[in-house]
């Protein structure tokens, strides 16, 4: 039956190694005071950055928690509005479908600096600037393409027949959604959700503008260090950033899997 192929195992590990290697360096840099050429291991280690990040005056951890909360809200809302859109694009034929698909890509196609000013002005007008809600709304925009696109593909594959069956058995559209659609798309939801979270979690420019400094996210603390080339600080912040997301995703994936017993739901 399914034999593990040596060839593909080797390929897999090679690629994974290449992907992880830079992260190992990042980890080393988090504790590296200096590392002159041509040393393979750093000359001196230090805890300056770690100490700073964990010192209460830097507010890093508080900000981290807040960022996680903010991005979770963004993720949930984005998924919530992406699911119906993805369903429409994945299952139905209708006029203007192409145009809608393109429109949904727009936030990726148009560079954020181009639209941010107009949006900021609009948000000031609506009283959304410098508010949590404003930042959430702003974050949703670049997340939409990821959410909708991925879920559209999922809907294309699972089709509508299961939903129909549920409707026939007396489930109204809401129940159909919760009992049938949601569990069936749950693997896709996890993928899409992770991406959305990351996109939101690493928004910089727009958070500044719309949050006006009132809403401070973890990435905003971290980015200046990347720019200023303080590799130790940048590495520690990145490390925390990555670990937080990772832990979150693993937990969510496991929970969803346990809850929905997610397996091969996709019927063709």
């Amino acid at each position: 039956m399914k034999k593990r192929s040596l060839f593909f195992t080797v390929i897999m590990y090679s690629i994974i190694f290449l992907l992880l290697f830079p992260l190992v360096i990042l980890f080393v840099w988090s504790f590296t005071k200096n590392w002159p050429w041509p040393n393979i291991v750093p000359k001196a280690f230090g805890l300056r950055a770690i100490k700073y990040v964990f010192s209460p005056t830097s507010k890093s951890l508080k900000t981290l928690l807040f960022s996680v909360w903010l991005s979770s809200v963004v993720t949930i809302i984005t998924l919530f509005i992406s699911i119906p859109a993805a369903k429409a694009l994945g299952l139905y034929k209708f006029k203007g479908k192409r145009l809608f698909k393109l429109l949904i890509l727009a936030p990726i196609i148009v560079p954020p600096v181009a639209v941010s000013m107009g949006i900021h002005v609009t948000f000031i007008r609506l009283g959304l600037a410098n508010t949590f809600l404003g930042v959430v709304l702003m974050h949703i925009i670049p997340c939409i393409p990821y959410g909708v696109r991925i879920l559209t593909n999922v809907f294309e594959i699972i089709g509508e027949s299961m939903e129909m069956q549920a409707r026939v058995l007396g489930a109204n559209p809401y129940k159909t959604f919760f009992y049938i659609t949601l569990p069936m798309i749950s693997p896709g939801l996890v993928s899409a959700g992770s991406l959305i979270f990351i996109v939101s979690f690493s928004q910089y420019f727009t958070t500044f503008l719309i949050g006006g400094g009132k809403i401070v996210t973890f990435f905003m603390l971290m980015f200046p260090y990347i720019q200023s080339g303080d590799r130790m600080m940048a590495s520690v912040y990145s490390l925390i950033f990555i670990l937080t997301s990772l832990v979150l995703f693993v937990v969510i994936e496991k929970t969803v899997k346990a809850y929905y017993k997610a397996e091969n739901y996709f019927y063709i």
């Binding site: 593990r4 593909f8 195992t9 390929i11 994974i16 830079p22 119906p84 429409a88 148009v110 181009a114």
Partner: protein
């Protein structure tokens, strides 16, 4: 009647956000690109900025540099990403660490990815150090310059590194959920593993790959961080040009930035559209 409206109703929330918020921003960018920016005293609508920017020699070289970076990185990412996803599937055992760790680069923001590439690939990076210590190169300068070079290798690698897991994740999600039975049928009909991959699995994941390609292409075409941090002094990628103009403290330069941004947008749309067309020719199985 009512049924025909259904897809539109479903699209409504997303469209509200996109049209309501996003497009309002876009309109302002468009207006500014036409030279109308009253707060700083620009009040005439003019095509002057377009003319200036588009006829500038460096615009073309920046454009081709950007295109080259996005295409190359996206295509490499697609190929390796699919290969990775398939490899994981083929060496499959459930719940293994590998399935989680390969996704790590997805979590890494682009700016950090640039930093990582710098750490590894610059002439003082870890890679030349290893080569030096193995005696393969005898000085830093023997290591090819991959960062800040005008072939954009550093940028491309940063994108490739970031996007491979993204592609792999998208593909793996779909791949692992494609009814195993279809592969069984194909095998049973005499297709070998390779044929199963190319004739059954690949066509079935094609729509997703297609989406993913568009996403990463459009993104790398329009984002400034990575080329800004790893790119050569000249030619500059278009988004970097736009970004620098945007940050010009002289606010009357804003229209230049917006012209570049609008051009980026326009070119992206054309490319996406062309891609759509050509994709339809290759695969009839489009949702």
């Amino acid at each position: 009647m009512k049924r025909n409206l259904k897809p539109y109703v479903l699209l409504l929330p997303v469209m509200l956000v996109i049209l309501g918020i996003f497009v309002s921003g876009l309109v302002m960018a468009l207006i500014q690109s036409l030279g109308y920016f009253p707060v700083v005293g620009l009040k005439d609508i003019t095509l002057k900025y377009y003319k200036e920017v588009l006829t500038d020699k460096s615009f073309l070289s920046s454009l081709s540099f950007s295109l080259y970076i996005s295409f190359t990185s996206s295509i490499i990412a697609i190929i390796v990403g699919i290969l990775l996803a398939y490899s994981i599937l083929r060496s499959n055992k459930k719940e293994r660490m590998e399935q989680i760790v390969y996704k790590l680069p997805i979590i890494v923001p682009h700016a950090v990815a640039a930093l990582l590439m710098y750490n590894v690939l610059s002439q003082s990076g870890i890679l030349p150090r290893i080569l030096y210590n193995m005696g393969i190169i005898s000085s830093q300068s023997e290591f090819p310059s991959l960062i800040f070079d005008n072939r954009g290798i550093g940028i491309i690698l940063a994108y490739v590194w970031k996007e491979i897991p993204f592609i792999a994740m998208v593909v793996y999600t779909i791949l692992s959920n494609i009814n195993d039975k279809l592969s069984e049928v194909a095998l049973n009909l005499g297709a070998n593993k390779r044929q199963v991959f190319f004739h059954i699995l690949l066509p079935l994941i094609m729509p997703s790959v297609f989406s993913a390609f568009i996403i990463i292409f459009a993104f790398s075409f329009g984002a400034f961080e990575v080329p800004y941090l790893l790119g050569p002094t000249a030619p500059k990628a278009l988004p970097v040009k736009a970004y620098i103009e945007y940050n010009n403290p002289d606010l009357t330069h804003r229209p230049y930035s917006m012209v570049i941004n609008m051009s980026l947008t326009f070119i992206s749309i054309i490319l996406v559209w062309l891609y759509h067309k050509s994709f339809k020719l290759i695969s009839k199985y489009d949702g």
